[in-house]
Amino acid sequence: MEEGRALPQSVQQSAAAYAVIREQFKGAVSDFDANETMPFFEVLETEKWPEIALFMRDHPKLKFNYMACLSGFDYPAEEQLGIVCNLESLGEFGHRIAVKVKCPREGGSIPTAAYVWHTANWHEREAYDMFGMQFTGHPDLRRILCPEDWEGFPLRKDYRVQESYHGIKVPY
């Protein structure tokens, strides 16, 4: 953030919402990153994510009832995979915030939020399809866009496409 430039109102709202979460969960969440394009915080204790999610959805001052987006990402340098959820309080307060949850790259897992927001079901399936992190407790964790017997996870930075698929040469 540049000096002397006041934060936009939407970021101030996000910061106020973050303060409520911080008060409840203390060390389980990271500091607030108040950038202008996408203010976010990180969940440091991954196993607390469903609890935080439920708190964010149901707390009378937060009411994040709308999960706009859930995207997976890959940080090869940090040996981590993760998801970022863009949440919004639709029709209640109108504030927005993004949450990041990370897990180790090999054999990592994140608890599912599909029971908090139904929409997370398919988004998590897509993230699993593309990055290969497990979502523990997910009701139906299968590949969604790639075929069931596809090898590897395409959006990982070190992905190499398989040589052949059912006798069809894949790289051309």
Partner: protein
């Protein structure tokens, strides 16, 4: 009758003999049958497969299978630079290319933090609203076909052709435009474009009314859609529905109003929401109704654009287009109101490369379709067709 008491244990087959009911078979078990609709099926609007468990005529569950049109949009984004992604976004929701490009450009412009010339903004609003009408015309026309009404489809496509001609005149392409660029538009609109658009608006207004009479108020159509596939507002929000789907459930939510971008705050338009008199709130008819009403609002917006657009003297549509797009390190999630709902782009930039580290498209159809499993429970098979049609999916956007 004692025999008929058996009905509790299972179905029975009875016949009449000399005025008495005779049981021919008892304890008939009903059997569930798997019925695959698609991937090649006219009512799935593309290559979607629905695996339905059916008990007679009743669908007990329907599981959508997607990915038949998966073209690795997000993988391509890793190797293409920022302006090069724009044509790919066209091919996602190919019925509303302008809106897709715009949503993507908004995301990158937010990262770059650049100011857009006013005339460019109005041009963008105008072409996007034209494209919105074209997209709704396809949605309404094909929905009619799904339910057995063929004529409205022809009427819709006749009018859509006028819009495609206009957009072709401006951009050079009929469906896949690559017209809206990061920071500007490819070309200024042709000299008489606004005049022709005005002519189209005047031509199209009575046609909207005609379409009402032909389809929306058609008794057969109403009977097929009213009260079918009802989605309560809170569940719709939990499923992150957006656009006409969410408004059909009675939630007055439009990103052009509630998270305004571009010059929408200056424009005067309504956000149509069903009032429950003509349709049951949240049913297929409400969703259709929202689309039909939205077309008129789009016409209003276009008219205001024509009158408010700054003159073209000394205007360069590419004046704010950056020579080399290399945003500072950061992340952005930006969205725009598409004909099918909220189209969002999540972009990660590392600050060094001219290619995004990660570019995810939050597709509105994908999210809207995810409620299909819940929505289809206990419906009849013909109603299932009505429900899929009302979601108005474009498989290019679902699979990306």
């Amino acid at each position: 009758m004692q025999e008929l008491g058996m009905a509790e244990q299972g179905s029975i087959r009875v016949s009449r003999k000399d005025g008495n009911v005779v049981v021919i078979e008892k304890d008939l078990a009903t059997e569930e049958m798997v019925l695959s609709m698609g991937p090649q099926h006219p009512s799935t609007h593309g290559v979607l497969k629905l695996e339905c468990m059916t008990d007679g005529e009743v669908v007990t569950s329907a599981e959508p299978y997607l990915g038949y049109l998966h073209r690795c949009f997000e993988k391509h984004c890793e190797v293409v630079d920022y302006p090069g992604i724009v044509p790919y976004t066209d091919r996602m929701d190919y019925l509303a290319g302008m809106n897709n490009e715009w949503a993507y450009c908004i995301a990158v412009e937010k990262l770059l933090d650049i100011e857009i010339p006013r005339r460019v903004e109005f041009i963008r609003v105008m072409v996007s609203e034209l494209n919105r009408i074209a997209s709704h015309l396809v949605a309404i026309g094909t929905y009619g076909i799904d339910l057995g009404a063929f004529t409205p489809f022809l009427f819709c496509f006749r009018d859509r052709e006028h819009i495609l001609n206009l957009l072709e005149w401006a951009s050079g392409a009929r469906m896949l435009y690559n017209y809206i660029w990061i920071g500007g538009v490819a070309f200024d609109i042709p000299a008489d474009f606004n005049k022709r658009v005005k002519e189209f608006v005047d031509y199209f207004r009575p046609k909207v009314v005609e379409l009402y009479k032909l389809l929306t108020e058609n008794e057969i159509f109403v009977k097929r859609t009213k009260g079918i596939g009802i989605m309560p507002a809170d569940v719709a929000i939990n499923y992150a529905w957006s656009g006409p789907m969410l408004r059909g459930s009675g939630v007055k939510w439009d990103l052009r109003r509630n998270d305004p971008y571009s010059v929408y705050p200056e424009l005067d338009f309504n956000v149509p929401v069903p009032d429950g008199k003509f349709s049951d709130i949240g049913d297929c008819l409400s969703r259709h109704l929202v689309r039909a009403l939205e077309m008129e609002e789009s016409l209003n917006i276009i008219e205001q654009c024509i009158s408010k657009m700054p003159a073209s003297d000394g205007f360069n549509p590419r004046s704010a287009v950056p020579k080399r797009v290399r945003p500072k390190a950061g992340e952005v999630y930006a969205r725009a109101e598409n004909p099918r709902g909220e189209l969002g782009f999540y972009i990660q930039s590392d600050g060094k490369s001219t290619k995004p580290l990660r570019c995810k498209a939050r597709s509105s159809c994908f999210v809207n379709l995810s409620a299909m499993k819940d929505l289809s429970k206990g419906q009849l098979i013909p109603d299932l067709v009505a429900i899929i049609g009302s979601i108005d999916i474009v498989l290019g956007e679902v699979d990306r």
